[in-house]
Amino acid sequence: MNINLTLIVQMLVFIILIWFTMKFVWPFILGAMEERSKKIAQGLAAADKGEQSLAQARERAEVIVREARERAIQIIDNAQHRANDLVEQAKGAASTEGQRLVAAAQQQIELDSSRARESLRREVAQIAVQAASKLLEREIDPKAHADLISKLATQI
């Protein structure tokens, strides 16, 4: 048991080994470990994010579905309104058309009756003239009395 050169050699080997560990072992292993823990943290964060966005998407989907349902109801309502309107409009058009037809018919009737009245008046005037001529037993010159007859015709 004595102190000898082994001490110095051991110190040298120790220093070299420390240097080696510091240079070629420690940084790589610790680096890999840190990188892995970073990766895991990122993975966990991404999972959280995914869950959140999934929840958000679900909410959004629900809102969209609700809106769509509301709009569908609205569209059906509108369609019904529109159909009612159309029916109303058609009804209105039909009644005005009917009224118009009735008015036209009345006009026609009036026209016809006035025409008939005219011809009737003329005939009555002629008959009156004939009757008067028979009564007077004498020929009345229609030409000489034409203005008289027409005056009469307008009076009837």
């Binding site: 082994t6 051991q10 120790f14 220093i15 080696f20 070629f24 072992v25 292993i29």
Partner: protein
Amino acid sequence: MAAAESTPNAGEYILHHLTFLSNKTPHGIVDFSVINLDSVFFAVLLAVAFGGSFYLAARKATAGVPGKFQNFVELVVEFVDNQVKDSFHGTSKVIAPLALTIFCWVFLFNAMDLLPVDLLPGLARGAGIEHLKVVPSTDINVTFGMSLTVFILIIYYSIKMKGLGGFIKELTLQPFSSKNVAVQALLVPINLLLELVTLFARPVSLALRLFGNLYAGEMIFLLLALLTLSSGFGGLLTVGGWLGVIAQTVLGLLWAIFHILVITLQAFIFMVLTVVYLAMANEHH
């Protein structure tokens, strides 16, 4: 082992096992012309084993799913890293790798103690090598080599962090201090003495603790080996011989199992104390 030749007596056997393989017989307590070839050989061999295996793991280290060996290496590295982070709050890039080196290397040194005491020396003798000590941490040169390196680092960090003046102040102005200049001047030598003892006690205690534990452990194995030393294979014919074999097996097993704790603990203590000493050197008082 040597039963075929002349059976050594107990003293010779133990002395033989405690002799290093040196380039020449040492004279006196300190002799720097002598080198313990066996200690150096096993220290370098285990350094290569540690450095090589960890280097391979480091080179293949991925951030993905680690393999079994990478897992093991990462376990050790993380364990050491946590120990360092617990006590050392500086920014040094040396301390953590230093701690890893100490822990693994000392553990491997100590683990050599679990090999049967006569296995490698016996083989070596077969190859013509007379003496072989296989446990480097039972060589006081090895343990002091490590603790003195740590000591140099302690001095280096003390001066680096506090400056030479700060370091000298720390050695002279505490633990006793006074506002009175004359009293302070009286206290300086006392403080210096106390602080120097504290300072030098660190490497000495580091080295001697490891050496003492492992030396004692090896000694127990050697003493247990004495139980069957004199009988040789002929001992198997006698009841006493069988008792010796059984006693050595059972006691050796028990001691080896207990020793697993000791070798790990000593490696751990060496590492933790190194980190603590360096942390203290790094801190301002």
